[in-house]
């Protein structure tokens, strides 16, 4: 700001002459605790007691949390099966891309999974992709949320490059790379005894997305008609708000290795049960060396299996205990009176002579 303007209103006219005493007296700054910078205030000082208790308190809180989190994580039973290599027929392993691009080759593949521990329902079925940059800048931007919500905005395809329109200029609904690359492997499960396990694919997406983000009057149009097929097709008769696989897919993952919910199995599984998975290996991750995994997992109040938080809390808590002890020890070895003026540098120096 210009120097001469900012304060001019407050600038007093000093040295004013005689007369007009009232004005001059009004010159006196009005007293208030605020203007004199004397507001009541709390002045925290890190005394040893404070430091030690803070460290101890953190330790006391963190370690139990760490233990609980670790236990919760260990309660989770997780079956992970990587299948994208095993599902390539042995004669095609040299040309995986050719295999996946050839529609005449059957993509069906059977996997057998052994349940390591009892699993209580609901059992969540995820697919996990590795090395798939759903957070790539080209990719995340390539969507149009207005089009998804509103049937009248079907022509609104800005930002959807390069999956904007069909070759003859018709708008694609849903447009954009994200929708275009919809994951389309499918799984069906059988118990060892041949009993089919139903995968519940309802309510796998966020309710908020279904209600507000994907319109109930919007239907897929011109979708996946281009020269290059990116992934799954959509039934043009089903409204977008019910295309839950698409809704899940379009909530783009934060990291290049991610899971997405495929469905739920509402059956309890026993230890050593064998599950047969019949899967359609449609999705092309061979072109960029991505991995595909099928994950069956139970869940706890803390989510899936991840011991990191437990370990983190235990280590932070432990560190705090250590620091609190260290501070205690050092302050016993080298004590100092708080607020002793002899520690002021100018009081210290003469004494040293």
């Amino acid at each position: 700001m210009k120097n001469d303007t900012g304060i001019s209103a407050a600038r007093p006219s000093a040295g004013s002459g005689d007369g007009n005493a009232a004005r001059r007296n009004s010159n006196r700054p009005k007293y208030s605790r605020f203007t004199q910078q004397e507001l009541p205030a709390c002045k925290p000082i890190l005394t040893p007691q404070w430091v030690i208790s803070v460290f101890t308190l953190i330790g006391v809180i963190f370690i139990p949390i760490g233990v609980v989190a670790l236990l919760a994580s260990n309660d989770v039973v997780e079956i992970v099966d990587r299948y994208e290599i095993a599902c390539v027929p042995p004669n095609m392993t040299h040309d995986k891309i050719g295999y996946i691009q050839n529609p005449s080759i059957s993509k069906t593949c059977t996997r057998k999974l052994k349940v390591p521990k009892d699993m209580d329902k609901p059992i969540y079925v995820y697919y996990q992709l590795d090395n798939f940059y759903q957070n790539h800048r080209r990719y995340v931007k390539s969507r149009n949320d207005q089009q998804l919500r509103d049937a009248s905005k079907a022509n609104e395809t800005s930002g959807c490059d390069p999956e904007k329109t069909t070759a003859d200029g018709m708008p694609i609904v849903p447009c954009g790379l994200i929708a275009w690359s919809l994951f389309n492997d499918t799984y069906s499960f059988n118990r060892g005894n041949g009993e089919a396990m139903i995968v519940n694919k309802k309510d796998i997406s966020w309710k908020s997305d279904r209600d507000h983000k994907f319109g109930s009057d919007v239907y897929p149009k011109n979708f996946q008609n281009g020269a290059l097929i990116g992934g799954g097709k959509l039934d043009p008769k089903i409204r977008l708000s019910e295309q839950e696989d698409l809704i899940v897919w379009m909530r783009t993952a934060a990291l290049p290795t991610f899971r997405k919910l495929y469905g739920r199995i509402d059956v309890d599984l026993k230890e050593n049960d064998i599950i047969t998975v019949a899967l359609e290996n449609n999705y092309n991750t061979y072109s960029f060396g991505g991995k595909k995994k099928l994950v069956l997992s139970t869940t706890t109040w803390l989510g899936g299996r991840n011991s990191f938080l437990g370990i983190a809390y235990l280590s932070v808590g432990g560190l705090c205990f250590f620091l609190s002890t260290a501070f205690t020890v050092v302050s016993l070895v080298k004590p100092r009176t708080i607020g002793d003026p002899s520690y002021l540098s100018w009081n210290r120096n003469p004494a040293s002579q």
Binding site: M1, D4, G6, I7, A14, G15, S16, D18, R24, N27, P29, T35, Q36, Q37, L39, C42, K43, P44, I45, L46, I58, F62, A69, Y133, N135, R138, Y139, V140, P162, T166, A167, L177, S208, H212, K213, A227, A253, A254, L255, F258, R259, F288, G303, G304, N306, F308, L309, A312, Y313, V316, L319, L323, V330, R336, T337, G339, D340, P341, S345, W346
Partner: protein, 1185 residues
Amino acid sequence: MATERPLLDLSPRPPNPAADILKPIPSSRSSRRSRGSRGSLDRITFAPPPTVIRYGSRAESDRANASQKDIPDEDARLVRINDPTGTNEHFEFSGNSIRTAKYSILTFLPRNLFEQFHRVAYIYFLVIAILNQLPQLAVFGRGASILPLAFVLFVTAIKDAYEDYRRHRSDLIENNRTAQVLTAGDFRPKGWKDIRVGEIIKVQSNETLPCDIVLLSTSDPTGVAYVQTINLDGESNLKTRYAKQETLFRTPEKQGLTGLIRCENPNRNIYGFYANMEIDGKRVSLGPSNIILRGCELKNTSWAVGVAVYAGRETKVMLNSSGSPSKRSRLETHMNRETFLLSALLIVLCTLVAVFTGVWLAIHKSELELAQFFRKKNYSNHKGDNYNYYGIGMEVFIRFLMAVIVFQIMIPISLYISMELVRLGQAYFMIQDSNLYDETSHSRFQCRALNINEDLGQIKYVFSDKTGTLTENKMEFQCASISGIDYSNGKASVPDDRGVYSVIVGDQYWRPKMVVKTDPELLKLLRNRRNTEEGRSASNFFFALSACNTIVPLVVDTPDPAQKLIDYQGESPDEQALVYAAAAYGFVLIERTSGHIIIDVLGDRQRFDILGLHEFDSERKRMSVIVGFPDKTVKIFVKGADSSMFGVMEKNLNANIIQATESHLKTYSSVGLRTLVIGMREMNRMEFEEWHSSYEKASTALFGRGSLLKAVAANIESNLSILGASGIEDKLQQGVPEAIESLRQAGIKVWVLTGDKQETAISIGYSCKLLTGEMIQIIINSNSKESCKKSLEEALATTTKLASMPPAAETTATGLGAGRTLALIIDGKSLLYILETELEGELFKVATSCHVVLCCRVAPLQKAGIVALIKKRTDDMTLAIGDGANDVSMIQMADVGIGISGQEGRQAVMASDFAMGQFRFLVPLLFVHGHWNYQRMAYMILYNFYRNSIFVFVLFWYVLYTAFSLTTAITEWSSVLYSVIYTALPTIVIGILDKDLSRKTLLKYPQLYGSGQREERYNLKLFILTMMDSIWQSLAIFFIPYLAYRHSTVDGSSIGDLWTLAVVIMVNIHLGMDVFRWNWVTHVSIWGCIVATFICVIIIDVLPILPGFWAIFHVMATWVFWFCLVAILVAGMIPRFTMKAFSEFFFPSDIQVARELEKFGNINENRVSEVAMSTFSNNQQQSIL
């Protein structure tokens, strides 16, 4: 003193022509009869109005050496008197309407934008925003990228518009005021805005001048007009201006008046005016005493008529209304170094991203076409060309620019704006501080420069003027030496009403406004033994005091109708003191007109003619008046500095008296009094006539008038008999010794630079405790370069000898190590040989090893030279404080210039960065506000670096997991709002309000000021530590959620919201941990900001058109989110907290100990070393009194 300020500075006084003294002079009785009002006094001036000749002016004597040259026509402005049409015919002189407003409605937008973009910060914003508009680089959406710049521009524009609106309004009021302007043979009211150059204007008493006018005539028959220039330079005393005799008796409304004024082009020098006037074929020269400037008020003169020469924006007051000086603070200079480092870091990060991009693209080259997330080719138009892909080289380049856009916040541009706001706030509190309010002058502290607040906390050298700064510049007559007898017992008598001399006028008492203590012996002498030799010289002495000056007495009403006060108005405080003293001894100056004075001599009112007056000039250092007495004798009275006076004394006649006076003078000046010597001589008829003719010749000379007049004066001022000498005390300002002691304890070196004599300077040095008896004085007082060199070498030897002694003396903070401290006293003549020669280095060495430096008899430019000496050779911050025009160069030279708004006008204040009423305010200003400002600003800069870089690092870590494609999980709106809403307010509030220590503690332990001098709060080490801390915290913020959410279903928006909240809470808690004082404002701003961030994130997430819709609610509903948040905050803060706890407890800084003392009381109070006051200096002071 005389060298530096015009002690007896006089405006010319018109002498009556010689003929007058031969005419009968009205008796004092007749004048007494008609006394009562000023008007009646004027009436009694004898019959034909005297033809008044006006001579000389200050400007002319300043120009004495140059002969008076003509103004060349091309440099001149020609003003035809009373012919505005003709005047303005060929020249486009500006009209009198003023425009302080900068904009009109049409020009506001372009001009305001243009001015705003003068700031580098905005250019940076703009370049980034423009880069972002290129489709290939579009990192942020259009709105998000322009918003911050638009916001800042908008806010500033609103502020500017409001200020401009106020200016428009005041312009309108000003322009619509009316003045009496001569139109069609009569003075008629006319709006100010319509006044044109060349018009004749009539101003009544107490009216404000609408433009700069050359006086033509006034109500006073001698053409005097009194003006108050308070609006112009703040001086409240009356100044005299004169109309030229050639125009004095013209009445333009009846006879008309034509003439041509040739004056210099408009300039901003309010003390200079140079012109001549052609009237009736005669050429008359005009000087600054003939012009009245816009903004002045006419006083004590019922009317004045003048011709407008400068109008509107060309008036001197308008030309002078420019902005304040602009300096850059030390902290900001250092900050720029770190900003440079940060730019380097930014470039490193961007280069890393670009290089990684290149590598990644090269490795995955073959996969790009089919990978669903990349899709290199565009198939929608059958051509199959590349979609938004330009080859690796180009991609790398684009990625680099995009990285610059994404990481732009690394350069804390918002910091510059926050700093301006913080300084504004700090300035507000400095202005509002009642401890910096001066009761006597009713002046508040003023912040004129807004960008060096924090420099006040780092001062190492204080250069102080003496008169008016250390002293009050309220002169008080103390003692006199009359005919070799010393009368200095004035102190002994207690003044009461009986002692106050008053004049009885009719049924009224007139009493001098100021009471002067009198010496009873001298009073007795004057009352009872007037006819003795002693009595005669005493009464001559006091007559000289009341006559030989330019003081104008004003009679002021008091609540008591029977009593009136005589207020002596004049430009020189010394003269005022002398006139008050003369009044106290019974010589009351009652009236002064240009031709005569009326003095009540011990109850007998008499009228004396002033026949001639030789003004003061810095070469002669004296002034004189030639007085015609009622008994038709003519006497010349001279007063001046001792050095110049003894040369013109008749030595043979009164050698004894001269000797005695000289020794008295020495005593006076050794106790710090300002001395003047007074002499007189009776002139015989022949002598007078000879003088008169040469005086007249000189004063009518067209060329070299000033030097001719000077020669006339020098000729007549000779062979004087000595009357005596006066001693005037310039009282120390309140609290000066204590202030200097505190400054010294704080490790600030106080140098006093004064124009006074060496003896006076040293004695003032003692009385203000600058010098103590234990100090070894090195006095350098040389007349040649060789002797200078020699004394410097000797001094250097002394200092090295002392330095080789045990270091105790050097380091004790009190500086009173017995006998081992040095004081350097050097005079201006020696400095002449030293400054800007090779001896400078030696002087610097000597001066810096001395604890006190006292420079006496220094010229204004030398003062600046000394400041420059220190500035050139050290990095230490300098502060100059002064009150007079002679301090201006020093004030401007120093890093911080402080003006004392005192008795000597406003020039020092105008040139200063800060202005205040008293020297002692320096202590709270530096120790309290300076310390706070420095501490706050230093912390704020570091914090802003930290705050911005932590955000950039969080973004950067994520970029490593997005195939280096610069995606941000944090929404673009949060990125934009981060430094605007999420984190802006607390740092500004803390920067304005936080205090590490209370005022009391800071004043009690001046040594705490050292933290700023040692740059403890802001240095490269702290910067590096802060940056490391920010890297650690960013790692905690990024990787705790990363590891916790690895292999999970988390979407980018949810984890982005977690990162956003974590960063904001982290930086606010970090700030909170460093806050010294939590008052309600701090609480509101810190917690409020966190809450505001939550609200903003929620608002962003309830907009269905954004991809992150509802993410925050989903993620907040999980335990992992909260566990992550807590773990981030704790893990992030642990290193800082541990460092802080350990260092504060085991290696406490002075400030830390003082904080503890403040909080936990003074358990060990008695161990605080109190400063031993030097008993010697106390004794010294008593001997003065």
